[in-house]
Amino acid sequence: MPNIVEIQSVSKSYKRDSLTIPVLQNIDLNIPEGEFLALMGPSGSGKSTLLNLIAGIDRPSAGSVIVGGINVGTLNETALAAWRSSHVGFIFQFYNLMPVLTAFENVELPLHLTKLSKKERNDHVRKVLDIVGLGDRMDHYPNQLSGGQQQRVAIARAIASDPTIIVADEPTGDLDKTSAGEIMTLLSRLNSELGKTIVMVTHDPSAAERAHTQRHLDKGALA
């Protein structure tokens, strides 16, 4: 399988006032297409940072991050935003749905960045909402949905534009055991049935178990 993600000698550090805090040290990582990878590690290990680099919402201090053949570190802000819209689907720990939009409208949101017509958008949204099993709750607002349901809407939003990779940051972090299980089942299906490449950060062992591969990060280095 070709590598969807190639991380070469990547380092990342942050500046807080006058201090430089190193977060990632010289990381090398290849992620093949169709992989379901779980990144684990104690808090402060840099796993979320690594995820952010892959998703294109942060830049490495050194090294290169190549996703789908494109070195994302070299793109400017506008290009990066455009790249994200078609290549990355992001799932957050706290769902991050727009509270003023219905489930349908939340999923439709990223599609406004594509050239699809209104009808095509509608079809897409319905399709993915069916996939996540929320076809009957399209017109509900987030505050009318449970945590698990909200996360499913978020997942639907993440796959709506058919991205190259799906990136998930603690997707089950805010859910109870049952809902967490449902979400992980859904993600597994997306990977096995639809061939989606998924990179997931988690500290929940039962969630990590559902992935194919587990890598550990500690103090900014891959174990």
Binding site: I57, E77, A81, V88, M98, P99, V100, E105, E108, L113
Partner: protein, 385 residues
């Protein structure tokens, strides 16, 4: 749908948005009131006609000119009609009734002021009766005057008791014309002066000259002044507009103060709206980060934030304009009657208010936009309101 997102976001915090809109509306009312006062001051200029010249005593408006000048002025090339007036002043009812009381030449009054619309027969009656007068429709309304009523006045500049019978009422041709004036026969005044204060007869206050071609105003003015240079009563001739501007210049300090206050008001609106926008934007830091994660570009975020700001601002402006009219009317009634003969909310004020609120909507969003764009996506995602 994105418009829907924008509007729904604005209404998320109903109370705060409501308060902001009301706050802006109030400031717009204050702004409108001040501007209306300033435009009322300039009302005289608005009413000026390009083909009217005012000839007055060069030292100051309060000194008189000889009636004898009339014929000479009439013969000046370019002059179509010569009329004249005396400021009578005096007291009608009590000292707090402010409206123009003037002696005029009935034969030429309507020639130089065609904007006074009056009934032909009534005006003929006015011309025939020596001690009659013509009043403006707004004045007639204010004092409930009808044709045949007698106006009693106590003269000051021209001492004594005076009585005038209302024989005609004029309507203003448009909004800019002062309909609160009262005119009577100069001949009546002259007669009285010959009796009571000989030596003060044969004098008029100022001439109003209608010229054939407005383009000739400078030339004709110069000519007229040249006729009387070095005489006992030198003249100063200028266009009606310049004459009115002279008055305004005398109150310029006041007008500047009011214009200054208008700016302060605009500043206050900006602060109120800016405050709200900063709070809203700050609360939504995470949402903006999510939008950017999804791939919405920076320009989009800019339009998004400023859109909300402009939306609220325009709503406030519209509400303010709606309430402005009753407020302005309230102010007019609180002022002594006749202070501002013409007191309307000008079209320019309305346009200016809306343009200002729009600009303020844009400006108030600048800081939140800058903040939103400067925040790194990763930091934004971590933000907890």
């Amino acid at each position: 749908m994105l418009i829907k997102l924008l509007i729904k976001n604005s209404l998320r915090h109903k109370l705060r948005t409501m308060l902001t809109i009301v706050g802006i509306a109030i400031a717009v009312i204050a702004f409108g009131l001040l501007r209306t006062v300033v435009t009322a001051w300039y009302a005289g200029i608005e009413a000026s006609a390009a083909n009217r010249l005012i000839v007055r005593q060069s030292v100051s408006f309060i000194f008189t000119l000889p009636y004898a000048y009339r014929e000479q002025i009439a013969r000046v090339p370019g002059v179509e009609t010569v009329s004249f007036f005396n400021w009578f002043g005096g007291v009608y009812i009590d000292k707090n009734q402010f409206f123009a009381r003037m002696a005029c030449d009935p034969n030429t009054l309507l020639d130089v002021y065609p904007e006074f619309i009056t009934d032909k027969t009534d005006f003929e009656n006015f011309k025939k009766e020596r001690n009659s007068c013509i009043v403006g429709s707004k004045l007639a309304e204010q004092y409930n005057l009808k044709i045949g009523d007698v106006m009693n006045m106590d003269g000051d500049i021209y001492p004594g008791q005076w009585q005038f019978t209302v024989r005609a009422i004029y309507k203003p041709r448009d909004k800019t014309v002062d309909a609160t004036q009262m005119f009577f026969h100069w001949a009546y005044l002259d007669e009285r002066m010959k009796q009571d204060s000989p030596g003060r007869d044969g004098q008029i206050g100022w001439y109003v000259v209608k010229i054939k071609d407005p383009g000739q105003s400078a030339a004709v003015s110069e000519y007229i002044d040249g006729l009387f240079k070095n005489s006992r009563a030198e003249t100063k001739t200028e266009t009606e507009k310049a004459f009115q501007q002279g008055f305004i210049a005398a109150s310029s300090a006041f007008i500047s103060a009011m214009n200054g206050m208008s700016f302060v008001i605009i500043g206050i609106i900006m602060l109120v709206l800016g405050n709200t926008m900063i709070m809203s934007a700050r609360e939504r830091t995470r949402e903006y980060a999510v939008l950017r994660t999804l791939g919405f570009s920076n320009p989009f975020i800019m339009v998004f934030i400023s859109g909300e700001s402009i939306f609220i601002s325009l709503l406030g402006g519209a509400l303010g304009l709606l309430l402005m009219i009753p407020f302005v009317n309230g102010f007019e009634s609180a002022m002594p009657k006749g202070w501002f003969p013409i007191f309307n909310v000008a079209n320019s004020t309305i346009v200016l208010s809306m343009v200002c609120t729009f600009l303020i909507g844009v400006l108030a969003s600048l800081f939140p936009i800058q903040r939103a764009l400067k925040t790194k996506i990763v930091d934004g995602l971590r933000y907890i309101g």
